[in-house]
């Protein structure tokens, strides 16, 4: 064997941008960009942890560029209350040059109220757009509310395991999604563990399949 057997649920396979965002029926990236344009390029994507907000943002970026808005993506993790100075500098420089950017903040609620207030002033003053993700509404026009249905989770797993023999069943995917209260990211990490445990049960040349132990119902140690 030349390389370690890949796990379809590893971070590099499931991170935003690596896996597509599956829209609900009647919704599309182009449609969201049009709604954002109609809202003056201000909007929010709202949803609980692990429901695809960052993945949706990654899916929107090329469509935003195609729509003629230059996105400036920023990610804020837990405890990151301020914006990098370079972001404010870029917004100010672009505004003075007459360029209109679209500031895209993933994790907007991490910002302090003071930073968020100054940011809105800076964007409004420079004519820049503002698109954010948050777990609850932050007072911007709502473009999309993310949640993961069983069918959406099944489609994501089918995409990740495409071209390979299935190693988990649809029922296991649904069970993990329910156990994680709709947090698909955590459910996928559970499936990573299940895939690895099943892999340990087969020989190097064997095939991993859902027929092999363990299962979530009867975990092994």
């Amino acid at each position: 064997m030349t390389r370690p057997a890949g796990n379809p649920f590893a971070t590099r396979q499931v991170r935003p941008g690596a896996v597509p965002f599956f829209f609900r029926d009647g919704e599309s990236a182009a449609g969201l960009v049009e709604r954002l344009r109609a809202a003056g390029w201000w909007g929010q994507l709202v949803g609980p942890h692990g429901t695809g907000k960052s993945t949706l943002l990654a899916a929107l970026l090329p469509h935003l560029r195609a729509a003629g808005r230059d996105p400036l993506p920023v990610v804020r993790h837990q405890g990151e209350r301020a914006l990098p100075a370079v972001v404010r500098d870029n917004l100010g420089r672009a505004g003075r040059a007459g360029r209109r950017l679209l500031l895209v903040i993933d994790g907007y609620e991490q910002l302090s109220w003071w930073t968020a207030w100054r940011l809105r002033c800076l964007c409004r003053g420079g004519g820049h757009g503002l698109l954010v993700t948050a777990h609850a509404g932050v007072g911007l026009p709502e473009l999309y509310r993310t949640c993961v249905s069983r069918e959406a989770a099944r489609r994501v797993v089918a995409h990740l395991t495409a071209g390979a023999a299935p190693t988990v069943t649809d029922a296991e995917v649904a069970e993990r999604l329910a156990a994680r209260a709709g947090n698909l990211r955590e459910a996928l990490f559970d499936l990573y563990d299940l895939h690895e445990q099943r892999r340990l049960h087969v020989s190097t040349a064997g095939v991993i399949s859902p027929a092999q132990p363990p299962s979530f119902a009867t975990p092994t140690t």
Binding site: P4, R12, Y192, H201
Partner: protein, 132 residues
Amino acid sequence: MRREDVTIELDRDPSDYLPDESLSGSWSFAAASDGEVRSAELSVLWYTEGKGDEDFGVQHFERLSAYEAGPVESGRPQRFSLRLPRAPLTYDGVLVKVCWCVRVRVFWDGGETVGEAPFRLGDVARAREVPT
């Protein structure tokens, strides 16, 4: 241009190497029917795969650029050779895996196409279940 249009051939089959050994081979790509190739990059790198944060390191890098050396020719195999390091060794673990590969990225007017050839560095046994 599709992923299959990038060809990477290592001189050793199976492609298992020991630390400090020499790795050599060739790479090429088919002409992009939907745009001119602007540049192509060859990297020999390792990366981690698992549930947590990812890490990677580039051991070797070459770049062909239309801006620097004229049109990037398709079809003509390009040779490469390097001395492999002593670490990190390929590891097939449960929580984390360490993978090595030769990666070729071709940038053309319509986008980017990536091809990979995996290889193994070292002879560390894969993780196995410990009987309880």
